[in-house]
């Protein structure tokens, strides 16, 4: 049984069709990477998966339940599927630890005291133990992005979505964020990444999908897709980015 399965998912913004009938299967503990040029629909596809964007047509099965049904309450879904954004989107008026605790406190009704040990553990695990009381503007981009990851993890999601989370970072800060993903991968988290880090995708992904103009043109294990792409467009894209 797939953890998350997309069937013919279609998403439009007005007349602009961004996803054209996408099928995608993500198994428990799998790491799937979406690659493709800007505007190919990677980000929108991710945002559809946790219902940040309502789907126009198609089915999304989360543990075999169709969450794309119009009128389905998105809030419980979002608690189970976390997402981290390219631009961090931390709450600038809260310290790092307040950013992380807000959702568990309000959604799970847990007290600060009860949360503190596990939140501290998360901060420590990602090398942020001494940054808990800092405000976002006192942190480097890499640190902010790691806090954003911790914030999503604090909700104990079953799936994590990462939307080009290293694209806004200075090159020397990319490594520390990718290390976090590596740690999560080792811990067995189910993950979907939209990414431009081809080396990282090749090293760690179970499956790589090449999106082009709103469709998955080609998918397969990274070794096959990167070394021996079947489609001409995949080949030319890879030639440009590698």
């Amino acid at each position: 049984m797939a953890k998350l399965e997309l069937q013919s998912v279609t998403k439009c913004f007005g007349d602009n069709v961004v996803c054209r009938g996408i099928d995608l299967r993500i198994d428990e503990g799998e790491m799937v990477c979406l690659i493709g040029a800007s505007g190919s629909g990677k980000s929108t596809l991710l945002r559809c998966m946790n219902l940040l964007e309502p789907v126009d047509d198609g089915v999304i099965l989360l543990d075999d339940i169709d969450i794309a049904e119009p009128g389905f309450d998105p809030q419980p879904v979002r608690q189970r599927i976390g997402i981290v954004f390219q631009s961090f989107n931390l709450f600038p008026h809260m310290t790092a630890v307040e950013n992380v605790m807000l959702a568990p406190r309000r959604v799970h009704n847990r007290s600060r005291e009860a949360l503190l040990p596990e939140v501290t553990e998360l901060f420590t695990r990602f090398g942020l133990a001494d940054r808990m009381q800092h405000y976002p503007d006192q942190l480097s981009g890499g640190q902010q992005q790691r806090v954003a990851i911790v914030r999503a993890l604090a909700m104990k999601p079953e799936i994590m979505l990462f939307d080009e989370i290293t694209s806004a970072l200075d090159p020397e800060l990319v490594g520390e964020v990718l290390d976090v993903l590596r740690t999560l991968r080792e811990a067995g988290m189910t993950m979907v990444l939209a990414t431009h880090e081809m080396g990282f995708a090749r090293e760690l992904a179970d499956k790589v999908c090449f999106l082009d103009n709103g469709v998955i043109l080609e998918e397969g294990p990274p070794e096959q897709l990167f070394s021996n792409p079947k489609q001409e467009r995949t080949r030319s894209f890879l030639a440009r980015v590698l």
Partner: protein
Amino acid sequence: MTETNLDGPAAAPPGLTRRQIYEAQIRRRSLRVAATSTVLVLLALIVLIPLAPGWEGVKKSFFNADVFARTFPGLLEAFLLDVAIFAWSAPLIFLLGLLIALCRDARSPALYPLRLFGILYTDIFRGVPVILVIYLIGFGIPGLGLPRPWNSPYIWGTVALVLTYAAYVAEVLRSGIESIHQSQRAAAASLGLSHSDTMRFVVLPQAIRRVVPANMNLFIALQKDVALLSFIGPVEIFRQAGVYKSLLANFTPYVGAALIFLAVTIPATRYADYLMNKQARARS
């Protein structure tokens, strides 16, 4: 080589670059020009105005030291009423303004009536002169037959001020709410926060902070408009000055009242500008 190394520090004071020295010179020159022109203008005012044929009369009616000394303590005491009215109106205005702003932000169709109410409310109360609202509510509602003390002009005058100013504050807060980037709402939603929690913990705290300077300006205006309550009875500073004016047939008490107002509003205005500049710098 060695020569330039020795001469370099001597030519320029340590720590200052050539650019800094140049800019300091420019700054000193513009300061001198500004000071000179200010002094010239002031001198012209001081010398020329008393030469006007009616100056003696104006001085006697508006700048009469005797009248000033006699009336100033009474004006100060009356000003306490202005301060009190301001003090209990301001929090109410903020709360009602917030409520109206939230009404106008209501997005679900079921709440459309609330949204419509918010729009009508701000349109009406921003479109009607404050003094009319004060008369209408200050005399009209008690005229319906309310028993004492519930017909007090203090209560209904305050209500009129609160209703009017809440409309302005609501608009300012709404602009603040709309200025918070959509990505903040998205981040909150992605964590499973409800709409109301998103508003309360994520959007509002940022929005309110962002519009503090604009609201400061509104509250400075409120401090002046408190005087309008005098139309329905309370003897605050403006009315007290009017009484003195009638008794003494002299306008100096109004000048005294103006000075008292300025003593409060100028620092407040400066502070609001300071906050505004600080924010502009932080955002750039």
